[in-house]
């Protein structure tokens, strides 16, 4: 399975060998985040790192454990109630003048959000690349409520590949102007004519 290196910035001491051993320059970047497009997953950097700061992770994550409808149901109900807790704490803290209560309400707001996140994580939305997450995102983007950041959603949908078959990116029809073949191509992939291999300008969406 293809792997890529990631660097834990909290552990990295920035003073050793990983730059010297990397055959592709992937580990040498201005923000210290390993360039995943260059990394070939050879593992030299993680072998050389004295701080255990680099690990090799799969390039594609396995599908998550399936959640039952019942569990998803109770988790959603609970998360909705935690969200009310968060909202009330947030509204009250904004107006509160007593300093200690204000701090307490802020703490309650933060805490409620963390719990709600955890509940949804275990309620079927752990990974961005899961079918649940992506199909929810595409439903929201298809019928956007007012002001919904549609561009952000579209960019996510086209850049994240589903890892469990739960989401198919919509496909588009093209006509090749070189060999006149009509074909379908999923919007996640670059369109290439299956007959003659033409791409780009030769293809017209229909």
């Amino acid at each position: 399975m293809k792997r890529i290196a990631i660097r834990n910035l909290r552990l990295c001491t920035k003073d050793c060998l990983c730059l010297y051993v990397c055959p592709t320059g992937a580990s040498d970047t201005e923000d210290s985040i390993i360039d995943t497009s260059k990394c070939i997953g050879c593992g030299s950097c993680s072998d050389a790192c004295p701080s255990g700061a680099i690990s090799l992770v799969p390039a594609e994550y396995p599908a998550q454990q399936r959640k039952s409808e019942k569990v998803m149901d109770v988790m959603e109900k609970l998360a909705a109630s935690k969200a009310s807790e968060e909202k009330i704490a947030s509204m009250l803290s904004a107006d509160e003048s007593a300093p200690n209560l204000k701090r307490l309400l802020k703490a309650l707001k933060q805490s409620a959000r963390l719990s709600a996140e955890d509940i949804m994580r275990e309620g079927g939305y752990m990974l961005p690349q899961s079918g649940n997450s992506l199909s929810l995102l595409s439903r929201l983007a298809d019928e956007p409520s007012q002001g919904f950041p549609k561009e952000a959603a579209k960019e996510l949908l086209s850049s994240i590949r589903c890892n469990d078959g739960g989401y198919e990116p919509p496909s588009a029809m093209y006509k090749c102007e070189r060999c006149f073949t009509e074909f379908e191509s999923s919007s996640g992939d670059k369109a290439v004519c299956p007959m003659c291999g033409a791409e780009g300008n030769h293809l017209k969406p229909i």
């Binding site: 990631i6 985040i33 390993i34 995943t36 992770v57 994550y61 454990q65 959640k67 039952s68 019942k70 569990v71 109770v74 988790m75 959603e76 109900k77 609970l78 998360a79 909705a80 109630s81 935690k82 969200a83 009310s84 807790e85 968060e86 909202k87 009330i88 704490a89 509204m91 007593a98 300093p99 200690n100 209560l101 307490l104 802020k106 309650l108 933060q110 805490s111 409620a112 959000r113 963390l114 709600a116 996140e117 955890d118 509940i119 949804m120 994580r121 275990e122 309620g123 752990m126 990974l127 961005p128 997450s133 995102l137 929201l140 002001g147 950041p149 952000a152 960019e155 996510l156 994240i160």
Partner: protein
């Protein structure tokens, strides 16, 4: 007799401590996690508590399946998922969507501390109900989240009721810390060495200012 802290599991053994539990002052707190005295249950009662049948849950009104507040948490969680995979651009996009939904959460009429308290108390029973479902399904991931959240919910109600009793003096000259991993709330000069709920080290706590 032994008494066990429902938050962190600290055992108060009357025999070794020399003071009967009932004689400890009301403001006594757990030496490990500062949970108040009423978070302790006698060892045998603890079993009972676990077996207690589900409480009647008051029906929640107007509940959409995924209201904006839930979507906010769902997407800020996916942002964390992207962050862990070092996908900082995707993280940013998920945060943008989370912020949109956070702003879209409707104001709650008549919000005040006692409503907050009521919801926090209701959440204790919702946690119990969810735990039963997760256990029947053998869903240990969900059980993990519910164990953490359920403990935190109890701490929240106890801090709130302490504030309702004592007012501002309940939190005078003391810092409030939130565990950034599980949401545990701790009051004290320094954060605990490890989080009593999720066991992460103290640097994972952030001070509320």
């Amino acid at each position: 007799m032994k008494y066990i802290c429902q938050i962190c599991g600290y055992v108060y053994d009357e025999e070794t401590e020399g003071v009967p539990f009932g004689e400890l002052p009301d403001n006594w707190t757990c030496p490990m996690c500062k949970a108040p005295k009423n978070m302790f249950l006698p060892e045998d009662a603890e079993e009972e508590e676990r077996k207690k049948p589900d409480m009647e849950i008051p029906e929640l009104q107007d509940m959409e399946r995924l209201p904006p507040g839930v979507l906010a948490a769902l997407f800020s969680n996916l942002a964390k998922g992207a962050e862990k995979q070092y996908q900082s651009h995707q993280e940013k996009l998920f945060r943008e969507i989370a912020a949109y939904y956070e702003a879209a959460v409707p104001e709650i009429p008549d919000a005040d501390i006692s409503l907050l308290m009521k919801i926090a108390e209701r959440n204790i029973s919702l946690y119990g109900e969810a735990m039963e479902t997760a256990r029947r399904d053998g869903d240990r991931g969900a059980m993990r989240a519910l164990t953490w959240g359920g403990k935190i919910q109890k701490i929240i109600t106890s801090i709130l009721s302490q504030y309702e009793k004592e007012g501002e003096s309940a939190l005078e000259n003391v810092d409030i810390w939130v565990c950034t991993i599980c949401g545990f709330i701790y009051t004290g000069e320094n954060p605990p060495a490890i989080c009593p709920v999720c066991k992460v080290p103290s640097w994972k706590f952030s001070k509320v200012v």
